[in-house]
């Protein structure tokens, strides 16, 4: 079954919210400060089954040691949050392939 971020956040507790109800730019700063490695993707790219929403280039954090990614997650009435969640190695490879390499 394909991984779906929406479902994961509803059904799992194995994730961390680093900031919530924030502005997009503040969230990107949080990701850059938090993650040991970052890539940048275009708005609308699908990561973990959802389209990534934001202002390009959108920073995604990667921590290969912990096996996690950190990404912005926006909802119209709640602003943007930053979520760090575990993903498998294969998924990290897929996500890295989306890097637009500034």
């Amino acid at each position: 079954m394909t991984f779906c971020l929406e479902t994961y956040l509803q059904e799992s507790e194995n994730y961390e919210i680093l900031i919530s109800r924030a502005g997009f730019k503040d969230c990107i700063e949080v990701i850059e400060d938090h993650a040991p490695e970052t890539i940048h993707v275009k708005p609308g790219e699908k990561i973990l089954g959802v389209r990534i929403i934001g202002i390009p280039p959108i920073t995604i954090g990667i921590d290969e040691k912990k096996g996690t990614i950190t990404l912005p997650y926006t909802k119209p009435c709640y602003g943007t949050a930053v979520v760090e969640l575990p993903v498998d190695k294969e998924e990290i490879v897929n996500i890295k392939a989306l890097d637009i390499k500034e």
Binding site: G23, F24, K25, K42, P43, G44, R51, I52, I53, G54, I55, P56, T74, K75, P76, C77, Y78, G79, T80
Partner: protein, 153 residues
């Protein structure tokens, strides 16, 4: 037939709902088939405002719309922006659709208004209609009409 997508943000700002109905009316009169993408709560406001779907005939949930959106799905994007999240949504829809776009930006706080406009200007080539407005839709309507006229000329 040309197709337009009207993208609504959080329905908290009173001007958004009347401007949504108005923009659908204007775009329909210009020959567009108009779809409104919105949150369920913004959709409720539209349903009560236009119970017989006299103006707003095609509605879709914003997340479903985003999920299935592709370049070429619409000829025109009109997005209402009065929150930081709405900037992100507008810019994302803009980059997926890659088509003529109008951002209707309104806020009562001039600093926030400027921030939203700067973020959109810096990341898109969309036409921007901006007004200091919250309850009163008139300043937005007047500027929106001007932008539509320019688009049609």
């Amino acid at each position: 037939m040309k197709k337009a997508l009207v993208l609504l943000g959080c329905p908290e700002a009173p001007s958004q709902n009347p401007m949504a109905v108005y923009s659908v009316y204007k775009l329909t009169s210009l020959g567009y088939q108009v779809t409104v993408a919105s949150t369920p709560s913004a959709l409720k406001l539209l349903e009560v405002s236009d119970p017989e779907e006299f103006y707003v005939k095609n509605k879709i949930d914003i997340e479903t719309c985003l999920e299935n959106l592709e370049e070429g799905s619409f000829d025109l994007l009109v997005g209402f922006v009065h929150k930081d999240a709405a900037v992100s949504y507008f810019v994302t829809f803009y980059h997926i659709l890659n088509t003529n776009s109008i951002a209707v930006v309104f806020e009562k706080d001039p600093e926030l208004l400027e921030n939203y406009v700067e973020s959109i200007t810096g990341s898109t080539n969309a036409t921007i209609v901006s007004a200091r407005a919250y309850h009163n839709p008139t300043p937005i309507r007047v500027k929106f009409d001007r932008a539509l006229k320019k688009l049609e000329d």
